[in-house]
């Protein structure tokens, strides 16, 4: 798994790649939580490079969404690869999140 953060104009961009599963869910969760605890209310997670996600990985995203919503913020997923979209569809997560097809649209929505 790769995860990196960058502060953009009005939101925090998280690039999440590789495999998000039980071997690294704690690390991913901890790093995203740190951003939220530092006061980042607006998060965009770019999943373009994400290759695989298990239940543990899905719960990292759900937990982040719950925490951001609790402080009145927002979280948007973008660039979701087809294979991951299938997982989101079957697991019902696609109805839980705001998902945009690209980063530009995500930027517009999160800063609107």
């Amino acid at each position: 798994m790769t995860i990196n953060f960058s502060l953009e104009n009005g939101f925090n961009l998280i690039n999440l790649g590789g495999r998000l599963d039980t071997s690294n869910y704690e690390e991913a969760s901890q790093q995203i939580d740190n951003q939220i605890e530092m006061g980042q209310k607006k998060l965009v997670i770019n999943l373009e490079q994400l290759e695989y996600i298990s239940s543990s990985g899905l719960r990292v995203l759900m937990s982040a969404l719950k925490k951001v919503k609790a402080i009145g913020g927002n979280l948007i997923l973008c660039n979701v690869p087809d294979k991951i979209t299938e997982v989101f569809e079957i697991s019902g997560f696609s109805s839980l999140f705001t998902i945009t097809k690209d980063l530009e649209t995500a930027k517009q929505k999160i800063t609107a």
Binding site: T22, I53, S54, G92
Partner: protein
């Protein structure tokens, strides 16, 4: 360690019993064992003992928990040492159904949620509630799930799991009325999809033959056979039913050549039937408990 007062199989079991503490007839069958087995796996996934994806159950931190029913399943997963489809595991571990039920009831009695009186299970308190934990009231599962369904909150993982079990195991009626079920159908369906093991329950239930362990047909077939023949016929039928392809994957008490198998054979000789089960904790055999498996009908079950 489980930080919650009750584990998920215990919470599901409590939903299957009525205000008098008795299990509703619709749940006295092997299909409820599949639901309990799924609940066990879901608890293990929540504790990151295993992980799942769309198809597979993936072994993860397979460390013993000190809780017998979980450790029994962990032992089996270790013995396979591979990822297998979720549905195979659900079906496979439901072979321990009676043992799981026994252990769950024992644990609920130990936690003062239920009590045994005149061989009957009863709620410990006169009403359906749990004892205080650290002077705090533990919210009963039914009211917790109702609150979740009627809100638009993002669910807690544990409640998502429970709702998924109830939805896919066709137990929703234990929590909501028919009109509520219709009114909140979209919300219930959305949350219930969120667990891959939960999604597999209905498939496992559908595939599980109604010609279960207590069918008269099997009993008739076994008449007039030696104890070993009865046991072997029974083992073959279990292997088929519980998707065990290799005899080496059978529990020791059913695996020919083990010391435990010899004891199993002795018990079959003693009781005259191979429709028995073994409790790994107490190391005791018993005939199948017809209190658990007395009913094969019921809506959707």
């Amino acid at each position: 360690m489980n930080p919650f007062f009750l584990n998920i199989p215990e919470e599901v079991y409590l939903l299957s019993i009525n205000e008098d503490g008795e299990q509703h007839p619709n749940f006295r069958n092997k299909k409820f064992d599949i639901i309990i087995s799924s609940a066990l796996l879901m608890e293990m996934a929540e504790r990151h003992i295993i992980d799942t994806d769309l198809t597979y159950l993936i072994p993860d931190k397979l460390e013993k928990t000190g809780e017998e029913i979980f450790d029994t399943v962990i032992d089996e997963i270790i013995s396979f040492n591979d990822k297998r489809p979720i549905i195979d595991w659900i079906t496979h571990i439901s072979i321990h159904g009676q043992y799981f039920r026994d252990e769950i009831i024992t644990s609920l009695v130990r936690k003062s949620v239920l009590k045994i009186q005149d061989k009957k299970t009863l709620w410990f308190f006169s009403t359906r509630k749990y004892p205080l934990q650290n002077d705090q009231e533990v919210k009963e599962v039914r009211s917790r799930l109702r609150d979740l369904i009627f809100s638009d909150e993002i669910p807690e993982v544990r409640d998502l799991i429970l709702l998924s079990i109830l939805y896919h195991g066709e137990l929703l009626d234990t929590v909501v009325t028919t009109s509520e079920k219709i009114k909140y159908a979209d919300r219930i369906s959305q949350i219930s999809k969120m667990d891959f093991i939960g999604q597999t329950i209905s498939k496992a239930v559908d595939e599980f033959s109604l010609g279960d362990l207590i069918s008269e047909k099997i009993t008739d077939l076994l008449k007039g056979k030696t104890a070993e023949e009865k046991l072997q016929d029974h083992v073959l039928s279990l292997m088929e039913k519980y998707r065990i392809q290799d005899e080496s994957k059978l529990p020791a008490w059913l695996r020919k050549g083990t010391e435990q198998y010899k004891k199993t054979l002795e018990f079959v000789e003693e009781v005259g039937t191979a429709e028995i089960t073994f409790n790994p904790r107490t190391q005791k055999y018993s005939k199948l408990n017809y209190g658990y498996y007395s009913y094969t009908g019921g809506a959707g079950m």
